[in-house]
Symmetry: C2
Subunit: 273 residues, 2 copies
């Protein structure tokens, strides 16, 4: 059971309904403990103004979504790195507990998965160097293997932790139950990660059937993921971050009134998490 | 480059177009080295008559698809086991080089992934006992993690090989590039499998974008999988089985004339594999 103060709202959950200020107001109205904005939502509000509004709210900021996409231009470019440095600055400005990294898929026209992974590792290393100067933590989000081509060539928690082990302090993982629930090694890898590497924990659910690869995520309790088991595992390692709810749902939750979505999240937090 | 004699036709590739006899005739007409029927296609022809037709063709039989589905009735039932024993008998009847196992997803209404995996392991053990008496090899097919809920709770090659190691001789893996290409450990796991455990190798491609979780597989060369690298890896272990082409494609290849599909497979075998 999750009390509201243990829950954070990822703004993508109501991306069709609310701008940043509406998300902040909604979180306060419903007693959420925190918020996690996407960069486009933050930038639409203006980074400085948005950061001021977030700080004034007193909400915790469980993350900023998202940096990464290192393979966007094929070889790692300065433009891609600069955008990641700006993401670090934005994370610092809003006091985010981490900058979540969706690392990027295969470059256009490429089938070279090892090559793409090398680009990603170099990009993460360069971003981490910068992030350390800003005291921002970098959180690699392993994405479900069905996104290996188009979004993230880091597909498992083990793979993300291997990168962390190479890069040292200041980097860890953002674990979203949607991406990791199927992994036979997940409990062992959560233990391996430990408190230092567990930087974010995201909630939603895997619907069966799933009708779209990207925008058919479920509300907690509507799918097949054993969320309490995963939450127990991260908390057993000492994770004290918030439970961030991030639901991409074009045909359901994005069509509902924002307050109804937040109310349902709190109810499911009590009954299903 | 694959010569026709190194290619096997999985009947699902032309499931909308051809029955078993038409598949056999098509394979012979185009010079394919083998065939791999699905059970429903074999049963539609009559197992005995179908087996006779296959043997008369002189085609190799790279597999029978599929046994498994151990979680279909929740706990493992005798009915499910009996169906698997029948699948073993059918594999023996057609001289299949292995019986491919799609092990089953979560039982209806369940979120208990470890429990489902235990059911599957027990089912595989019981089937293997029977298969050994019939000299049929059992091939666990790890399915892409996006099928963990509805089709297979065995999602990685490492997990499948762990089961094989527990069960001993007569069991191995069927590796389909579609299911394994994203796996950061795949080359190491192919090496771990070695010749004894590598029982089948299936080809198709991962399209980007993928529009449907089940029926939007691509023809080799139309997607992002580095097929030659995976083929080199299995052949480096001494795999001498056929390259079985299995493409589920509701909107494309299932709508084309069967001979055109087979001709395209041969062309792609030369240019993209």
């Amino acid at each position: 059971m999750l009390t509201p103060d243990r829950i954070s709202l990822n703004t993508a959950t109501v991306k069709a309904q609310w701008n940043l200020q509406q998300c902040i107001d909604g979180c306060l109205r419903h007693g959420f403990g925190g918020i996690s904005p996407w960069r486009d939502v933050l930038q639409a509000a203006g980074v400085e103004a948005g950061a001021k509004a977030i700080r004034a709210s007193g909400l915790r900021v469980s993350g900023l979504c998202r940096g990464g996409w290192y393979t966007a231009e094929g070889a790692l470019t300065q433009a891609v790195l600069d955008d990641n440095f700006r993401a670090v600055d934005e994370a610092a400005a809003i006091g985010a507990e981490c900058l979540v990294m969706v690392v990027g898929g295969l470059p256009a026209g490429s089938r070279d998965l090892p090559g793409a992974r090398a680009i990603v590792e170099e990009g993460l290393a360069r971003t981490l160097d910068y992030a350390r100067t800003a005291a921002v933590k970098i959180a690699i989000e392993p994405l479900h293997p069905m996104y290996a081509a188009d979004r993230a060539v880091v597909s498992t928690t083990a793979q993300a932790l291997d990168i962390c082990d190479q890069l040292g302090a200041g980097i860890g993982v953002a674990l979203d139950v949607y991406h990791i629930w199927w992994d036979p090694e997940i409990l062992a890898q959560i233990k391996r990660a430990g408190r230092e590497r567990l930087l974010a924990f995201h909630l939603c659910d895997w619907l069966n059937p799933t009708r779209d690869l990207l925008t058919d995520r479920g509300m907690m309790g509507d799918g097949v993921i054993d969320i309490p088991a995963l939450r127990r595992a991260v908390e057993a390692e000492g994770f004290t971050g918030l439970n961030e709810v991030e639901i991409f749902s074009a045909e359901n939750w994005w069509k509902r009134e924002g307050d109804a979505v937040l109310a349902e999240i709190l109810q499911r937090g009590q009954s299903c998490c």
